[in-house]
Amino acid sequence: MTVAERTPLVEMQHINVAFGGVHAVQDATIDLHAGEVIGLVGGNGAGKSTLMRVLSGAHPADSGSILIDGKPVSIKSPRDAKAYNIETIYQTLALADNVDAPANLFLGREKTTRLGSLDDSAMEAETRKVMGRLNPNFTRFKMPVKSLSGGQRQAVAIARAVYFNARIMIMDEPTAALGPAETAQVRNLVRQLKDEGIGIFLISHDIHDVFDLSDRISVMYHGEIVGTVNKDEVTTDEVLGMIILGKPPTEVTETELAALHA
């Protein structure tokens, strides 16, 4: 791939986020190209989700800059992020449990009639279309999403991200709550979105998922980015070493590796 020569779709540079005295993200720099999947990995509390929350506007950074198509942008709220076609599938799914699937899909971006009233029929029709592709068996369009199964809820959250022509997609543990069949579906979806030229940040604990789907892998450790590696140039062991030891493979000593395997 010659992606490195083109202007990246997203560049996050020297991002810092602190909660009180704790540095959740420290001087993190990461980039993403169109049609590329970056696997973002690291232990619990490594700062993956926080870094992505900066990009999705859920938590503004204390310092650092974000560039989209090479131009600096200001993302202070989820609304800003959506204006740049950044869509996020949160680990918690971020669904309003008490309203139905169409209301969730269009939450904050409702279709309205000419007089500004909600056009529920139009929203339901669109939801039927997009869910027809994602989950053809889905029929409970009028039920509060609370009453749906885990996979169906995930489908609603994914539909919301897919529907609005995302250019950049953030997926935070998209398969954590799913069974094997549904996990396979999500994997297919990631490949397909990638083929459509969407840039994807994929946060996952599942190292096999990451190796399977990513082009490059960024490893975070204690709020810092340890390194970004091309998937084809590393082994799973080396990536695991980065996750656990917080050092690039070249800096890891024999004794440390031995200790890891002991």
Binding site: S56, G57, A58, S77, P78, R79, K82, T88, Y90, T92, A94, L95, A96, D97, N98, V99, A103, N104, L107, G108, R109, E110, T112, G116, S117, L118, S121, A122, E124, A125, R128, K129, V130, M131, G132, R133, L134, N135, P136, F138, T139, F141, P144, K146, S147, V162, Q185, N188, L189, Q192, L193, E196
Partner: protein, 441 residues
């Protein structure tokens, strides 16, 4: 999901399985069962008192009085639904009603004639006073809402403070004295024989209501057809239409069976030269009292805001999951602030009804309203967990609570006794609801 790029098949159009059980038949009409149940409960309460009183209770005069008494609380309850749905509470409504009622009284007895130069003959004095009261309500509500939404002080605390301090302001405004003598036009807002829309208008209103029901049903069907959604069976549509229209006509007929008192009719007849008193006295139907018409208007507007507008959608979504609403890019603070502005406006309307009925204001107008309003909303199905509640439910809740109070007082039960029953009913209603929801989920 193997191929997202595929054009959408016309999926999800699966018709619900044909059901023949009663439950299935009801499901096909898509009636809100909760609301239907409450309507039934209200009917049972009224009927029970009617039997206990030997048929005296269920008379037009009683029912119209009951409706007028319930209207103030019901008006505010429509707003309390949105406040509770978005995980807040407003304890200041009673005091706010008190201060606005006193403002109306002072405006019309003192400030307007003496300061603003608007004597008794000034045109639309009543409307100007009402506008100022609504403005005051919106302002106080907005201030509380701002402190809650933007500064982040819990609504319980802010409105508890409001409950105490606003009631204190009433005392300072009036120097501790009651005020009376409102504009005669303003007094009509409070109902009574003259404060009603009369027989003809009542029938016209009923006709409009019937037409609206039919148009809504037809429009709903058209929308569903436009998008190829499953349609309600025709028998269900027809039944809903017929039942709805019958209910509207019955209520109108009932209100029109309420006649002007003979003394009042004779007095007005003499004043306006209606001619000789007919055989059997004057038979002038009062029709719907203005407070009921106001309540109807408020209910329609609030239900429209809650279900047909973005504002309502955001209130419910926030109540269901505040984080999700925030992450969806909704301006949640502004939404919360607006719910409290609405509360202020509704309090001003309720204050107008209360002060107009009194023809003035005392220090304790609106006392304990917060409790009745919250009870009405909760009995009407609003959940303190947030995200659940309906405007028509709260109005029905207000009527259930008021029917109990009115019925008990009709049976000679004193006010403490009424409170005992009201408290127990509140707990039973919510307990029953909680049990039902748990079983349902």
């Amino acid at each position: 999901m193997t191929n997202v790029a595929d054009t959408a098949p016309a999926s999800g159009q699966v018709q619900p399985p044909a059901r023949t059980s009663i439950r299935g038949l009801i499901a096909q009409t898509e009636i809100d069962l909760r609301l239907f149940g409450m309507l039934l409960a209200l009917g049972v309460i009224l009927l029970t008192f009617n039997i206990l009183s030997g048929g005296k209770f269920f008379q037009p005069t009683n029912m119209v009085t009951l409706a007028v008494q319930a209207s103030g609380v019901a008006v505010i309850a429509t707003g309390m639904v949105l406040v509770i749905v978005s995980r807040n509470i407003d304890l200041s409504v009673g005091s706010l009603v008190g201060v606005i009622a006193m403002t109306y009284a002072l405006l019309m007895t003192d400030w307007m004639p003496n300061i603003l130069g608007m004597g008794p003959d000034f045109p639309f004095r009543w409307l100007i006073a009402l506008g100022l009261g609504i403005g005051l309500g919106a302002l106080v509500g907005g201030l509380q809402g701002f402190i809650i939404a933007y500064i982040g002080v819990p609504s319980f605390i802010v409105t508890l403070g409001g409950l105490l301090s606003i009631r204190g302001v009433v005392w300072y405004l009036s120097s501790g004295a009651a005020r009376s003598g409102l504009d005669p036009n303003f007094q009509l807002i409070g109902g009574g024989a003259q404060g009603s829309i009369g027989g003809t208008l009542t029938w016209i209103l009923a006709l409009v209501g019937c037409v609206a029901i039919v148009v809504l049903l037809l429009n709903g069907r058209r929308q569903r057809r436009r998008f190829d959604f499953p349609l309600r069976p025709v028998w269900a549509e027809v039944m809903l239409g017929v039942l709805g229209c019958a209910a509207v006509v019955a209520v109108a007929a009932f209100a029109n069976a309420n006649l002007w008192p003979q003394g009042l009719a004779a007095r007005i007849a003499a004043r306006d030269n209606w001619g000789p008193t007919p055989e059997g006295g004057w038979q002038i139907p009062t029709g719907f009292p203005y407070p009921m018409v106001l309540l109807l208007g408020v209910t329609l507007v609030m239900a429209w805001l809650a279900t047909r507008r973005r504002f309502g959608r955001y209130v419910y979504a926030y109540g269901g999951n505040p984080d999700a609403a925030e992450l969806a890019g909704i301006n949640t603070r502004w939404t919360i602030l607006k719910t409290f502005v609405l509360m202020g406006i509704l309090c001003a309307i309720a204050a107008a009804i209360a002060s107009a009925r009194l023809n003035g204001a005392t220090l304790d107008v609106g006392q304990s309203y917060e409790l009745y309003v919250i009870a009405a909303a909760v009995v009407g199905g609003t959940s303190f967990a947030g995200g659940i509640g309906s405007i028509p439910g709260a109005v029905l809740g207000a009527f259930v609570m008021q029917s109990l109070a009115y019925g008990l007082s009709f049976m000679g039960v004193n006010s403490p006794g009424q409170n005992v029953v009201a408290g127990i009913v509140l707990i039973i209603a919510v307990g029953f609801d909680t049990f039902n929801r748990r079983r349902g989920s």
